[in-house]
């Protein structure tokens, strides 16, 4: 299977597809109208519950809104939330991770324990606890997911920092008389950030799922917002008769999450073979 891991820098077919998907996602997020000129909130009683057709690629929902348009416009909502959540999570994690990874033993011990504690809260629980405190809503659910994912990242970052810090080239640098700060700035930081980027892409997929889960539970985005999770939640009640209302938003989530993972792993693979 060795080819499965080496595979040069030329993207594999899967990676190519995934890349395109992500690209579309970004476009949809930034300039939705390019892909779907319609208005995602335009109600039209006449064409409620239309099955997929040329007029409505993904069909229409209970208010006759075009699901394709909503999915496209939903990208910005979902993606933004996903990115934000991941950013919060990783931002927090970096602080924790570096404190633990570079600080003295006791500090490392302390931080690691704290991280463990947070990690001990199954993600959604932490999120729910947070929501109980702040009340439901897009923002709080986003922050909640950020908080909930931070510990996981922190662990990885810490070990990454540790590994880099104990690498032989760090010794080499010390022998050459480089200061701690210099080493952190020139060696550890860059080497860890490479991994961070991967982490982020991988995390993005999960974050999207999480946030949509919260919306599904009615704790996140508020209708008629075209957030995928919310759309799914709305569609589920009609699943018995109008499958497309659930299927396509779900597909969007799965596709983007999967795409993010593939791309993330791709980069990871190359990083590894490059080091």
């Amino acid at each position: 299977m060795s080819r499965a891991r080496v595979g040069g820098f030329r993207p594999t077919v899967t990676e190519a597809i995934a890349g395109v998907l992500l690209l579309l996602l970004v476009v949809a997020a930034l300039w939705p109208s390019l892909l779907a000129p319609g208005d995602p909130l335009a109600v039209s009683h006449a064409d409620a519950f239309q099955p997929p057709s040329l007029a409505h690629l993904f069909g229409t929902d209970e208010s006759g809104r075009d699901i394709y348009t909503r999915v496209v416009h939903g990208a910005s909502e979902s993606l933004l939330i996903g990115v934000l959540a991941t950013a919060i999570g990783i931002g927090l994690a970096i602080v924790l991770g570096f404190v633990a990874g570079l600080g003295p033993r006791w500090l490392d011990f302390g931080t690691t324990r704290v991280v463990e504690v947070l990690f001990a809260f199954p993600g959604l629980l932490l999120a729910l606890l947070f929501i109980v405190v702040t009340g439901p809503g897009v923002l709080s659910s986003t922050i909640a997911v950020g908080l909930a994912t931070a510990p996981g990242y922190a662990r990885i970052i810490r070990s990454q920092v540790r590994r880099t810090a104990s690498a032989e080239f760090i010794d080499a640098a010390r022998v050459l008389g480089r200061s701690r700060l210099w080493i952190t700035a020139r060696h550890i930081l860059p080497n860890v950030t490479a991994a961070l980027f991967v982490l982020a892409t991988l995390g993005l997929g999960q974050a999207i799922i999480w946030v949509s889960s919260l919306s599904y539970l009615g704790l996140g985005a508020v209708p008629p917002a075209a957030e995928w999770g919310a759309m799914l939640a709305a569609g589920r009640t009609y699943i018995a008769n109008f499958w497309w209302m659930t299927f396509f938003p779900g597909l969007a989530i799965v596709a983007s999450a999967a795409a993010a993972t593939v791309v993330g792993r791709g980069i990871q693979k190359r990083n590894r073979s490059a080091s």
């Binding site: 909130l41 009683h45 209970e62 008629p224 018995a240 008769n241």
Partner: protein, 556 residues
């Protein structure tokens, strides 16, 4: 004899009610509230009922008092009186009753052959204990408390004669007493801690609470020595030994998709809160029948908070009502399972007044009104503005009380209102936060179904007294209608003993409410049940439309 006093005026309207019910029966493919049973009743078997409502935290409907509680309590609790198909008040645990001419004293003769399922005999003391329990603030009763608000004192004249002394005449007393929220429970059981009583209330009904697996199911078993069906049922089922079913498993399946799937796959035999689209598709499915039982009391309507800006200005209220198109939405969302309503009262309420013309959509008139009211500019997003203020309406929606279709309808209203220049801010909330927002008076629009037998519901909903909260904290006058004339009318109506006068008073009251643009009626409180066709003899109580399984059986 005494009951005749009430029967006459009713007779007129009763017909309409019956017709309405018949209609319901037809539309729902013979599964109507009478659901003319096919074949001979079969004894035995276990029926599984799946409720979409949140699992009640207490099975005693005295506590709080919401519809989910009523649904299940109907199976094991019974009231003093009931209504028959024609809306006639009929004897139940009380055989007859009489009121003093000033309407301040009521005497009820009780059945002497009934015992609670814990062996406690049912007697005057029991009635006293129950009314006391409902009125005790510690019970935190909401619905029941309001229903019995005018009862000042209860006197056990003898074992089976009880006298209620009123603080003021209450023409709605019998209707109120017919509701399951004030049903009779064993006084011995009531003495237990609230936790215990909530877990297994003890009544005289056809079934007994056997066990409660939290978040899974309540198991009800047959009351072997059940002897006290309401008069009308007793006649109908002369000689047969009710109930037929051995037991009922009462499940809680919040997810409507799963619930319907469970019915289709035969895991359960009856589900409530059926989604409109599934009702529609059930019509073409012989294995599934519908039972449509619109709730009595108020219609399902959107209240416009006249207590604060911008809706303190009648012109703005009218503008809003005129600018939103509800009919099309109802058509597409409810698949014809719901009739548009133009009345504050449910279509099953004989005294309901409908004024369709008031609700004809007229966007030009709307914008004219708004300009007139000073909301004559529009901002970048197309919303109307008045000295810098955007025309914003907060619309807290209780996700527990509004079915998805209804929430979608609100979204469409939101879209319509936008074109007119209103910014409607929908905020779906859990029940608790929803109450919170109402208590803080942070709403302009709200939809709050209220179920009570009889037009007296109007007094609860629109009398200015109802702006101040009940012990449970809930206040019913969400439109915050504060109109002296209206108050006067409603007080008179509930006091008068003359049916004709009562009718005209309520009509006048409704006119004020409708013309004052305080509410936007939508449709009756939807109450659709789907049953597997193996379930026969299922019937909705004419009181608060809760289905009763007393006469139901399973076709093997």
């Amino acid at each position: 004899m005494p009951s005749r006093r009430f029967s006459r005026p009713r007779a007129a309207v009763v017909v309409t009610a019956a017709v309405a019910l018949l209609l319901a029966a037809c539309t729902s493919g013979g599964g109507g509230s009478t659901g003319e049973p096919s074949g001979e009743p079969v004894t035995g078997g276990t029926l599984t009922y799946a409720s979409g409502d949140a699992e009640p935290s207490c099975l005693d409907p005295h506590v709080g008092g919401n519809y989910p509680q009523a649904l299940i309590a109907t199976q094991y609790l019974e009231s003093l009186v009931s209504l028959d198909e024609d809306g006639e008040v009929v004897p139940w645990l009380a055989t007859e009753w009489d009121a003093s001419d000033d309407g301040l004293e009521w005497e009820f003769t009780l059945r002497d052959d009934v015992t609670f399922t814990d062996g406690t005999p049912f007697d005057a003391e029991a009635v006293a204990a129950n009314i006391a329990h409902v009125q005790d603030p510690a019970t935190a009763s909401s619905t029941g408390y309001l229903a019995l608000a005018k009862i000042k004192d209860v006197v056990a004249v003898d074992d089976h004669l009880v006298r209620l002394e009123m603080s003021a005449p209450d023409s709605a007393l019998l209707e109120s007493l017919s509701q399951v929220w004030v049903a009779m429970e064993s006084p011995k059981a009531l003495e237990r801690s609230q936790e215990e009583n909530c877990a297994a209330p003890v009544g005289t009904g056809p079934f007994v609470v056997d066990s409660w697996e939290r978040q899974d199911s309540v198991t009800l078993v047959r009351n072997e020595d059940y002897s006290s069906p309401p008069a009308d049922v007793a006649e109908a089922t002369e000689g047969s030994d009710l109930p037929y079913l051995d037991s009922i498993v009462w499940r809680f399946i919040p997810d409507s998709a799963s619930r319907y799937a469970a019915l289709q796959s035969g895991e359960v035999q009856v589900i409530d809160n059926a989604q409109p689209d599934t009702i529609k598709s059930a019509e073409s499915d012989d294995a599934i029948e519908e039972l449509d039982a619109p709730r009595p009391g108020a219609s399902n309507r959107i209240e416009l908070n006249s207590g604060k800006a911008p809706f303190d200005d009648e012109r703005v209220r009218e503008a809003f009502i005129r600018s939103v198109n509800v009919d099309d939405g109802i058509q597409s969302l409810f698949f014809g399972t719901a009739e548009r309503s133009y009345s504050p009262l449910s279509s099953v309420e004989p005294l309901g007044l409908s004024l369709p013309d008031l609700f004809a959509v007229d966007t030009d008139a709307a914008s004219a009104l708004l300009d007139e009211a000073g909301w004559d500019e529009r901002d970048a997003d197309g919303y109307r503005v008045k000295d810098g203020e955007r025309l914003t309406l907060d619309f807290p929606v209780s996700t527990n009380q509004s079915i998805p279709a209804e929430q979608s309808l609100f979204e469409q209203i939101q879209a319509d209102a936008k074109t007119a220049g209103f910014e409607v801010r929908l905020q779906p909330l859990d029940l608790s936060s929803w109450y919170g927002v109402l208590a803080e008076n942070e709403y302009d629009l709200v939809s709050a179904p209220y179920t009570k037998v009889g037009p007296d519901v109007l007094r609860i909903l629109y009398h200015s007294d109802s702006i101040t909260p009940a012990p449970s904290g809930y206040f019913a006058n969400l439109a915050q209608v504060d109109d002296a004339d209206l108050d006067e009318l409603l007080t008179q109506a509930s006091a008068t003993s003359d049916a004709g006068e009562r009718a005209s008073l309520y009509e006048e009251a409704q006119r004020i409410i409708l013309e004052g643009c305080y509410i936007l009626p939508l449709y009756d409180q939807q109450n659709h049940f789907l049953r597997s066709s193996s379930v026969q003899g299922l019937r909705a109580m004419p009181t608060v439309s809760t289905p009763t399984f007393a006469g139901a059986w399973l076709v093997p």
